[in-house]
């Protein structure tokens, strides 16, 4: 265990929304895979930026612009440390995971793959890690292949190896599934890819708030994430890319910031990371994101993993005791995300009925329709936990479900 101590009450105190009443009940927020709540320090940082030093960045020389630029770039540095990238130049700000994947599809895959090359993804991907590849494949005659998912919600590694051939040039895979909770053996998968000269991208949207990410250790070429799933604001995401790869990629969007010199005859592009950041960025929220990273680091991943594992095991036990409840995704290595069906109650009814008791869960296909098809489901109910959730909340939730089905 870390030397830092873990105090749930103190953590919950930092989230103003957790005091809210929903339909006359204390809010129980179990929709963390969709988006997490935000601690006061994140909200305050945004507030402070707009109240005290709002200015456009990078080109201004006045005091406000200087301060805003410094704070904005501090976040880049924090992200770099947070995921252990070699250099800050490897950190590009986007709107979120989805934009990040599109950036890589459009700037890397489109330019470095050719007709009949192959891309591998898996059956458990989020739509955001499917559709960009479908679009780019269709446009460029590239072939998209998908790794099977096993009945227990794990990736079929044998099938993965079978899919690889001389034409395989790119793999994009989810680190942690937003529907199944499965944590994939990313390092092993990337190692296999490296042996076969396959460029790799990891969708870290669901992973980054729950376990330490070390991109150098993973040795992935790209890693993408969303701030809003990490206690940070909406509208901010990151593309990590290895410097030598980002260097050779053409810009994604054109505009202010990403240029060195503009001329009607010849325009030259800026250096990394600015080459990929056209236009005024989401300054306020990038600055807020830094505080979310601080929030996580202050608790520490040792504490987070150990507490969240306990909570997950507790939830798993409790849910499994409910009559007619079936959990979809039972990987040994998983986080506190539980998709389930109930024999007697449709997930849509369940969602609304729990909402009437103050409990927020998600229902539907969770943007993973191919996975739903695989399991012959139209949708599920999903409980997804975060660092501020408690055993008491799980008890309350289980009690309410039991009442419903009896």
């Amino acid at each position: 265990m870390s030397v830092k101590s873990f105090n749930l009450v103190k953590i919950r105190d930092q989230f103003p929304i957790l005091n809210k009443k929903i339909n006359n009940h204390q809010l129980v927020y179990f929709d963390n895979a969709a988006t997490t709540q935000k601690p006061k320090k994140v909200i305050n940082a945004i507030n402070e930026y707009y109240s005290e030093y709002n200015a456009n960045i990078h080109r201004g020389i006045h005091t406000l612009a200087e301060k805003a630029t410094i704070e904005y770039e501090k976040t880049r540095k924090s992200v770099s440390q947070f995921i252990n990238s070699k250099s800050e130049k490897e950190i590009i700000f986007t709107r979120g995971t989805t934009e990040g994947i599109n950036l890589i599809a459009s700037s890397f895959v489109k330019n470095f793959l050719k007709k009949e090359d192959e891309i591998i993804i898996s059956e458990m991907e989020h739509h955001s890690n499917i559709v960009p590849w479908q679009m780019i494949c269709e446009e460029n005659g590239i072939v998209l292949k998908t790794i099977n998912v096993l009945e227990n919600g794990e990736i079929d590694l044998d099938n993965f190896k079978e899919l690889i051939n001389d034409k395989t040039k790119f793999l994009s895979i989810v680190h942690t599934s937003n529907t199944l909770g499965t944590v994939n053996p990313i390092k092993q998968i990337i190692e296999i890819c490296k042996k076969n000269n396959i460029t790799t991208m990891v969708d870290g949207a669901q992973a980054s708030a729950h376990s330490k990410i070390n991109v150098q250790d993973l040795n992935c070429d790209f890693f993408v994430l969303s701030a809003h799933k990490m206690y940070g604001p909406t509208g901010v995401g990151i593309v990590y890319g290895k410097e030598e790869i980002l260097e050779k990629m053409p810009p994604y969007m054109g505009g202010g910031e990403m240029i060195k010199e503009v001329n009607f005859l010849k325009t030259t592009y800026n250096e990394l990371p600015y080459k990929f950041e056209a236009g005024t960025p989401n300054i306020g929220d990038v600055i807020g994101f830094n505080k979310a990273l601080n929030f996580i680091s202050d608790i520490g991943f040792d504490n987070i993993s150990s507490y969240e594992k306990k909570l997950k095991d507790y939830a798993s036990n409790s849910l499994n005791k409910i009559d007619g409840l079936k959990i979809i995704g039972n990987s040994k290595n998983k986080i506190g995300i539980f998709s389930f069906t109930l024999k007697k109650v449709h997930y849509y009814d369940l969602g609304l009925l729990l909402d009437s008791k103050g409990i927020a869960i998600r229902t539907g296909h969770h943007c993973t329709q191919p996975l739903m098809d695989k399991f012959n489901l139209e949708g599920t109910a999903r409980v997804s936990l975060a660092i501020y959730n408690s055993k008491e909340e799980i008890d309350y939730f289980v009690e309410k479900i039991k009442k419903l089905i009896n």
Binding site: N23, H346, Y347, Y348, D349, L353, S356, K357, T363, G364
Partner: protein, 142 residues
């Protein structure tokens, strides 16, 4: 026979007693759904289907004295409750009256909460299904 508008007014009055309480409203809706006549599983055909965001609705009808009699079902209890209200409004009415009807009870009962926002607007599809059926059964010389 009551007009569609007066039926809607009745519904609004019934819901008033619930005092906008989320839970009571839900339970009342579910009860209403349970009160619907049995829907024959063999009528759960593609052509009778209305697809909402997270639920399915089947709607069937027969004609009796020029009036349309609707029957329906849903795979979720709450949507079934909503459907039962629409059936209450539109059933036993002439096609031309159905077509003319403007649904105003939804906004006045707090039910919009269960129909969901723009995205999951299954209600519009449901309403359309009723009206399309009405259109198809309208006397052609009118």
């Amino acid at each position: 026979m009551k007009t569609t508008d007066s039926i809607q007014k009745d519904i609004i009055n019934n819901f008033k007693t619930l005092d906008d309480d989320f839970e009571m409203t839900l339970n009342y809706l579910i009860e209403l759904g349970e009160g619907l006549d049995e829907f024959d599983d063999k009528d759960k055909l593609e052509i009778n289907l209305v697809k909402g965001c997270q639920s399915k609705v089947w709607l069937n009808y027969k004609v009796k004295n020029d009036k349309l009699i609707f029957s329906g079902d849903s795979n979720t209890s709450i949507t079934k409750g909503l459907l039962s209200l629409l059936i209450k409004v539109f059933s036993n009415q002439l096609p031309e009256d159905i077509i003319k009807t403007k649904l105003f009870f939804i906004n006045k009962t707090g039910l919009c909460r269960f129909i969901g926002t723009q995205r999951s607007n299954g209600l519009e599809s449901m309403e359309n299904k009723f009206k399309i059926i009405a259109l198809a059964n309208k006397k052609s010389n009118e």
